[in-house]
Assembly symmetry: none
Homo-oligomer: 200 residues x 4
Amino acid sequence: MSPRTVDKAARRKEILTAAVRVFARKGFAATRIDDIAAEAGIAKGSVYLYYDSRDALLEAAFEGYRTMSAAIFDRALNGRGPALERLAEMVREVLGVLTARREPARIMVDLWAASRDAEGSLVDMAAVYGDARAVITELLRQAAKEGVLREGLDERHATVIVGTIEGCLLQCLVDPGLPAAELAEPIIQIFLEGLRRPAA
Amino acid sequence: MSPRTVDKAARRKEILTAAVRVFARKGFAATRIDDIAAEAGIAKGSVYLYYDSRDALLEAAFEGYRTMSAAIFDRALNGRGPALERLAEMVREVLGVLTARREPARIMVDLWAASRDAEGSLVDMAAVYGDARAVITELLRQAAKEGVLREGLDERHATVIVGTIEGCLLQCLVDPGLPAAELAEPIIQIFLEGLRRPAA
Amino acid sequence: MSPRTVDKAARRKEILTAAVRVFARKGFAATRIDDIAAEAGIAKGSVYLYYDSRDALLEAAFEGYRTMSAAIFDRALNGRGPALERLAEMVREVLGVLTARREPARIMVDLWAASRDAEGSLVDMAAVYGDARAVITELLRQAAKEGVLREGLDERHATVIVGTIEGCLLQCLVDPGLPAAELAEPIIQIFLEGLRRPAA
Amino acid sequence: MSPRTVDKAARRKEILTAAVRVFARKGFAATRIDDIAAEAGIAKGSVYLYYDSRDALLEAAFEGYRTMSAAIFDRALNGRGPALERLAEMVREVLGVLTARREPARIMVDLWAASRDAEGSLVDMAAVYGDARAVITELLRQAAKEGVLREGLDERHATVIVGTIEGCLLQCLVDPGLPAAELAEPIIQIFLEGLRRPAA
DNA sequence: TATGAATGAGGCTTCATTCAT
DNA sequence: CATGAATGAAGCCTCATTCAT
């Protein structure tokens, strides 16, 4: 065993976790490398042994988010049970993150802001939302096959569903007083039934 | 109001417009006072004759956004016709902005990011969304009175509606290929009817 | 006249002069932007209003050197009198610089070091020496036409002449005790007569 | 001397060789301890077991250069044959180094630059050139005794001779296209005969 | 009021050196 | 002896803001 054994991968993750915490607390723009180093309990220069730049840390945070999203998408696509039930579960899962890990979730706004600079941006939220829409489109297709959907639904409805989830997230992020988890059922209800009183 | 004052106000607005254009183009974080001055066709120092700081310009942009939102809210609340129709119109209006003035709309992501820094932030999106939920809650109340709503709707449903609108906006901002305006009808449809095939 | 009139070109030159003084004193590698700013009596940031980088200042110093060299070359090529006399005068001129402006001349060593990094280097001493050799080759050609040269001289002899001048400069730079100006005559003598006792 | 000591010395030399290679390739200023360690095939920290600092490596490189020079000087002073022939041989030897070991020779420019920082500099090229002048002065003295030199030569002529050699080296370093070895004969010729057509 | 040159605090990043293993 | 992770001082450069004209 070589001297001063360190698990590089573990240390990388530690630093990333620290960075995400600080991003969540102060926002990416206001986060200094010093802050991250302090949060991780290491020297400023050491951050650079594991990440090339401040931007690289945001990118890594995005990768983490992406991985988590992919797992959720995967469960929705390949899970068991009726498609609409899996959609409902996906809604609950996404909003559940806000409750379980509220702080880390706050980096979302920075990811959105970073992703706006289109070309060359290391944070490609468009791709994530594209994936999300594809997943939901597929769920709708399966649900249609199961015969439980009304006619005339298309890709735009998938966009609306993704939008609903993300928009609820957004509001909860911006206004910490809102009860994220409690929004899951109203969302599902609206998707399923709409608001209108059923014709008699 | 003296002509002098009018000029001053006009110049203020010019600078703000220029600033918003640059914010939209490059993002707030990457926008330099020089960029704004150049866009406005004035000298850098002159910006400070009208705004106290770079942040003040983002704040002003937020005020503009707030004013526009208030107008939309006002039309929805005090307009004519059935409440649900006014809700639908409001959806169309909000998404229409993305089509009509796509570029300026891109400052939304910066407003979200700026608003995340809770206390003391000059950008209080939580308040806007609070207003939005209040408006929609009221519309739902009116619609209920009109007898067209199902039972058991509450404030959380208002949150979901606001979320849907903003989440669709978000996707369109992050992925310019999406057709914002075309989302209005699916949104309304989902709100009204849900996705489920009506019981026979 | 616009407010705060400054002659940008003059200021540029002031800063360059200050930079060259500091380069000469401490060497390029040890020179900090702060040093240059202090020497120029301005703030650190102001340096960047006139030069893009520390390297750009060395490049500018090189340009200055190049311009001076070109003037000397021009006088040698287009002056009056026999070619060998013009060559002698050129030798005196080059070494005279060391006496007249000893300090600035000390940047030569940094120019040599900077130029060694071949491709992409902003300091191309090879080009200057190429020019010098071309000038001297032409002087030798003229002198040959005048019938005063021995047979068999070629481009390599021009290289040697350039080498002699630069090598003397080098020694004088490295050892400030040496009398640069006094080397001109021995150089000329060796070029003309060689060291060997004339055949009887 | 224990084998242990031999190993240590060998390792020191390996590291120095590696360092010189890198200095030659990238220049001293751009050379990192990592580069040297990599070139030597050891860990970065190990470099410090053999040398106290990065500067110490340049100093050691200088010592190596000094030793080589001293050997050349010694051969010139104590060799056999006429003094002028030994001078000619010395010229050939110095320029031959550029051909035989072109890369290591490139550290010369860094030595010049390092030596310019006068007091306290670890690289004292002035001393080397002083030695060189002393050697050549002695050779001239011997040649004068042999009766082959013209009258009136003095220390300044020695300076010019050293200058010629070093200046040719300089040009070859700065412009790799030049044929160092081929300059030896023209140098010797100029020294001996000068450029001028012999009086009839 | 308008200008734009000047300022200087502050951030990112580099890298020589140290030191625990 | 060897290692290479960790350190943190130091330097380059940026840019919001100021201010003399």
